[in-house]
Structures are given as C-alpha cells and as structure tokens.
Amino acid sequence: MEILAFIGCAMLFVTFALTVLFILIKISSRLAMLVLVAVPVLAVIIMPGTSLAFLSYRHFLFAGGLVPVNNFHILLTLWSTLAGIILYTEFLTWYLTIGKRKKAEGNVSGTSGK
C-alpha cells in the first residue's frame, strides 16, 4: 500500500510539473508561475481536508526517524525547482533581448556615422 501511495502521489506531482512546464513553453511564464502557486493554494481553500491529508501524508523517515518526508516537502521541492526554472528563463530572456538590442543600436549608430 505504501508503494502504491507513493506512486500515486508521484504521478500527481509529475502531472502538475508537466502542466506548468507546458504553460511556460507554450503560453506564458507569468501564467506558469501563477498556476504553480495557485493550484495548491486553491486546492487547500476548496478542499482543506483532502488537501491537508494529502500534503501531510508521510512517505519516508530518514536519519533513523529524525527527518520525515511528507508530500508537503515534495511540493516545496517542486515549487523551488519550477520557480527557479521560470525565474531564470525570464531573466535570461531579458538579458539576451537587451544584449541584442544594444548590438542593433550600435550597428545603426555606426552606419549613420559613416
């Protein structure tokens, strides 16, 4: 039963992560960030019992029972990973865009100077 519960939870998290990545690539990074935060929060507001039971489900106990791993910890890991991807995607896009623009501006001023 424990392994089945873990597989079920993993499938849910993978589906969630793929959805966010799909939105990031195909639609918008801002929408992906919104979905990333909104889905768990709304789930907790709409179905607090089910959601909290899901998030507090404990999969493992590491370090001789000292470190429990619940679904909430997995959600935090997923959040940090996907938020990092989205943030750095945004930042690199901006950086590359500004670099391209400056290069283009340099070319234009050089041509007009001749």
Binding site: V41, I45, S56, Y57, H59, N70
Partner: protein, 610 residues
C-alpha cells in the same frame, strides 16, 4: 621295572627336542646383521642411548686439518672403550663385534654418526606358506615363479624364475636359498613315495609405524600441564630401530622436545608422555602440538610419521559462578519468594603475575542483592591465587529465572580483556504469587466527541490461585459511556481476566490514563499489589470547516488503517485560510530566495548599460 621305565622316559624326553626340526629350521628367517640403531648429531658431552649401549662424544677437535672426535662407548652404563674418530679413515669403529659407529661428518663441533648393532634379527617373513607341489606345478610369489620340474632320489629339481633370470637347483628336504636379498625359497619336505614336495617362500619384512596422540582433555587453562601421550605402534613384521620423536608446539613449552627409543618390535606398542605446558594467554586460543616420529629398518630405510593435536587454552583469568537456591525452611519442598539464592563467584589467576580485576555479576531485575553494596567488585588477584566472592540474592517475585554469567575484566599490556563464567542453562523456579496488569486503548488518536474502548487485563503469572480486586478510574477529559472499571474475583495460576469499558472524549488535549491497580491475596493470605502502565490518548479538535470531509479523509485513524502511516496530527488544527496562507508564505519565501541572484544581476546589468 619302574626305574627302567623312568630312565627310558627321561631319555625320550631328552631326545625329543633334537627330533623336532622346525625349532632350528626357522632360524633361517633370522639374519645376523649390523642392525641400524639410529642416526645422531652429538656435540661434546652429548650422548645417544642405545639398547644396552651408550655412545658419548667426549671431545671434538676442530683445530686440526681433519676434524676429529673422541667417542666413548659404555655397555650397561659401564665405560668400556674410547675411539678416535674422524670423517675419513677412522670413520667406522667397531666395539667387540657388537656395536658399530659410523661417523658421517664433523661440522661446527657436531658429530653426525650412525650406530649399528650386531644382532640376529628376524628379517624374513613367510610370503607363501607351506604348499604341496607335484612335478610340473608352479607357485608364484610376486615377480618370482617357482616350478617343480622333477623329483628324484637326489632331491627335487626346482626352477626359480626371477628378476635375474631362471635358476635351477636340486633341493633336499630342509634346504633353502636366498635370491638377491628379497626372496627365499625353502623345500620343507620331499615325500619319496608320493613324490610330493612341500615348499614355502619368504620375503624381507618391513616395519609399519603408526602414531596416535592422546590428551586427557581438549580444553586447558593457561600455564597448565598437558598430559600429552604419544603412542607408537609397529604394526609391521620386523622391528623398527633408532626411533626419535621430535615434539613442537605453536605456543607453550615442550618439556622434552626430543625423545629416543632404541627399538620397537613388531606388533608392539610403546607409549611416551611428553610434558607440555600451555602458554599464559589473556584470550582463549588454540595451540597446535606437532610430533614427528622417525625410525629405521635393519637396512637403514627411514620410516617417518607426523602427528598433531590441537588443544584450546583458556585465559589465565577464569571465573566460575555457582548459584544455590536456599529455601526458607528445610521443610519447604519448593523454592518460594521467602527463600534466597546463594551466589558464589570463584576467580582464579594462573599467570605468574598479579592482576587487578573488575568483577561484575548481573542479577535478574526482580532480585535484590543482600549483604553487599552492589554486584560490582574491584580486587587484586595474586599470581596463582584463587578468590571467592559470596553473596545472597533475594527474589521479590515469583517466576522462572535464569542467571546471567558473571564477568571479570582486566587490563594486560594496554588492552582490556573480559572473561565470562559458564552460562546457566537451567532455570530456577521461584514459587509465589505474581499478577501482571496491562492496560491498553483500542484507539489512541481521537477527535473530541469520539469514543474508544479501554481494556485492562490481569494475568496470574504466579504458581498459585489468587483473589484479586481490579480497580481503574476515568480521568478528566473523558467520560464513561458503558462498562465498569472494577472487578473482583479469583484467578487461577496461569489464567487471566480481561475487563473493558468505553469512554468518550470531552475536550482536546493529551490525556494520560491513570494506572490500573490490582490488589490480590494468595492462598496463604499474603497480600500483594500490582499496577499497570499509563497509556496516553491524544484528542484533537476537528477543523471548524469541512468537518465531514476532514473526518473521513484527514482523520489520522483512517489514514493509518489504509497506509500504515500516520499523518502529522498538528495539521488538523489549521483552518483553510491559515493553511492557504501557510502555503502562500512558503511559496513567497522560496520565490524570494530564488529571485535574489537574478534580481541583483538585473540591477547590475541595468547599471552597466545605462
């Protein structure tokens, strides 16, 4: 008349041995030979003990060009003669045609010599026993083939076909011939009427050496003498000479590493006791004692047989524990809780030096030591000394008890060693009354308003029936719904009684249930009491919203049943807004942490391009 008869009888008796030829006939099996007595390596002053003779090297002269030695010969401990020997011209010396000394070499003051004795010794053993043959019959003995060709008045013509070809010869009754030192044929009797010939053959015999080792036990203490008995058996057909036994040990000390025996006749057994002393060891170890026995036949052929034996050596510190059950009254047939145990620890140090010991003895938890402050002692044990520690232990309750071994710990060469006494296999049974109370809850995690069942069981683990009063109480925070936390009655030995009642939770919190108590009286009227553990019930408030959903989905008990896991209990106190706020704050924290570096880089790049 009588005198005449007696004279004839005496004459006949005197004549009889002369007529019985086999007695002298079998002397043909003996050979007068220089029988090899052994090879020795002797320094000046050393001696070799032979059968009747002693050969002693008096002095060795290594200064001259040819090393030489003066060898003395004793016969029955009396000095007879001295010989000047060296390894060349004077190497062979013979005393009185009885003893021959052959010096092989003189090196580094050591004289290597072989000894021989002139002796008539049985060498030939029957190979094919007496066989009646007719003309044309053939008899085979190994590689030799004997054929009776003709029988006439001159005797029997026999051809012997062997390694050296065919040899034909006419034999008379009683005549014999030896071939190449390894085959002998003898014609015992020729019957002139039937022309039958009785023939037997002989071959040189050989000794067969077997060595057996026996010790009186296989486990010894440190510094203890081992009774090491070496048994030599010559199961061959001729004697074995010049036997030397060399004994060595992987540890320990062999008292007589080299022993000698001049001769071992066939089918004879000789026992030797070799003194071996075990080493002083702080840990149990095995030592291997090895012996090598070497002997020679009359030709000087070597027969060697190894033998070994392994014994275990215990540490030099030993501890023995003896437990004796002492009944309160000699009339008692069984040990009761009013009796006591007399415990004796015997410590022994077999090493040659004193040792400081820390001795510990662990008692069963329900026993109290009497007459001593504790069951740990520090003591100094002199070399070879034995000390005893005696104390009594009082059982406080009935049951079956097995005593643990006592231990002694000490230091040797910076290392700490520990020995234990032999474990006890038998259990001591103490008769008496003993009731065990157990209190349990069907469900320990509850929401307010839920009910659970509390079970109290009393087990009579003693040996007699008891009358028991079982009492329990319901603490604050719980209310009794059904059942009674009280019971009174008799419980037979080995039986149990279980009562249960249902309580309902009133308010949230952690409730420690009070211990259930049993007061009981045995058949003799002695009164005892026992109490149970104090289990805990965790009571939580349900969430203020979505009560039904939480109670079916987030209820710890239901999750527990399905998955075997317990969710964190604290979550159930959160409202949905608090939970959502916690999630949001967690996300914002993560986001802020992740955004620090891109934000700083953004500001820096903006500054550069501006």
């Amino acid at each position: 008349m009588a005198v005449r008869t007696l004279t004839v009888l005496i004459f006949a008796i005197t004549l009889l041995p002369a007529l019985v030829y086999p007695v002298s006939a079998y002397d043909i099996q003996d050979e007068s030979l220089w029988i090899f007595q052994g090879a020795y390596e002797l320094a000046a002053g050393n001696r070799a003990e032979l059968e009747g003779f002693t050969v002693k090297v008096h002095s060795v002269d290594m200064d001259s060009a040819e090393p030489s030695a003066i060898v003395l010969v004793y016969h029955n401990r009396d000095f007879k003669r001295s010989f000047f020997t060296d390894a060349s011209a004077n190497s062979e010396q013979i005393y009185d045609n009885e003893l021959k000394i052959n010096v092989l070499g003189i090196n580094s003051g050591i004289v290597s010599l072989e000894t021989y004795k002139q002796k008539s010794e049985r060498v030939w053993v029957t190979s094919v026993p007496k066989t009646n043959m007719k003309v044309g019959d053939t008899l085979e003995d190994g590689s030799y083939r004997v054929k009776l060709k003709e029988v006439g008045e001159s005797g029997a013509l026999v051809s012997i076909e062997g390694k050296n070809g065919v040899f034909e010869e006419t034999y008379q009754s009683g005549s014999y011939r030896k071939f190449a030192g390894d085959f002998m044929i003898r014609v015992i009797y020729i019957n002139p009427n039937t022309r039958d010939v009785s023939i037997e053959t002989f071959r040189p015999g050989a000794p067969a050496l077997t060595v057996d080792i026996l010790t009186d036990k296989i486990v010894y203490g440190s510094n203890e003498d081992i009774s090491y008995v070496l048994t030599l058996t010559n199961s061959g057909t001729i004697p074995l000479h010049g036997i030397t036994m060399t004994t060595g040990s992987s540890a320990g000390m062999v008292g007589e590493p080299h022993l000698q025996q001049a001769v071992l006749d066939p089918l004879k057994v000789k026992k030797f006791i070799v003194p071996v002393r075990t080493p002083v060891t702080p840990v149990t170890r095995n030592i291997l004692i090895e012996s090598q026995v070497t002997g020679y036949d009359y030709m000087g052929n070597e027969y060697s047989e190894p033998a070994s034996f392994e014994v275990q050596v215990r540490p030099y510190i030993s501890i023995e524990k003896k437990v004796e059950a002492v009944r309160n009254s000699p009339k008692d047939t069984e040990m009761g809780t009013d009796g006591h145990f007399m415990i004796t620890l015997t410590l022994k140090n077999t090493a040659g030096y004193r040792t400081t010991l820390e001795v510990r003895d662990e008692l069963p938890s329900s026993m109290i030591p009497e007459g001593v402050e504790g069951t740990e002692w520090t003591m100094l044990l002199d070399a070879g000394a034995t000390k005893e520690i005696s104390y009594t232990a009082k059982p406080t309750e009935a049951g079956s008890f097995t005593f643990k071994p006592g231990t002694a710990q000490w230091k040797d060469g910076g290392e700490t060693y520990i020995v234990e006494s032999s474990p006890f296999t038998d259990a001591f049974i103490v008769r008496g009354s003993k009731v065990i109370i157990e209190k349990s809850i069907v469900s320990s995690y509850l929401y307010t308003g839920e009910m659970t069942e509390i079970v109290v069981s009393a087990v009579n683990a003693g040996n007699s029936n008891v009358r028991i009063t079982l009492t329990d109480s319901v603490p604050e925070g719980l209310s009794l719904v059904s059942g009674q936390p009280l019971w009174e009655g008799d419980i037979e030995a080995g039986a149990s009684k279980k009562i249960s009642y249902v309580v309902k939770t009133i308010s949230a919190g952690t409730v420690m249930l009070p211990a259930a108590r049993a007061d009981y009286t045995d058949l003799e009227g002695k009164q005892y009491s026992a109490v149970s553990d104090t289990p805990v019930i965790y009571i939580d408030d349900v969430l203020t919203t979505e009560h039904n959903q939480i109670s079916t989905d987030a209820k710890p008990g239901s999750v527990n049943v399905q998955t075997g896991e317990t969710p964190d209990i604290g979550n159930t106190e959160l409202t949905r807004i608090e939970a959502a706020g916690f999630l949001l704050s967690a996300f914002i924290t993560l986001f802020s942490l992740l955004a620090i570096i891109p934000a700083l880089m953004y500001l820096a790049i903006r500054g550069v391009y501006r």
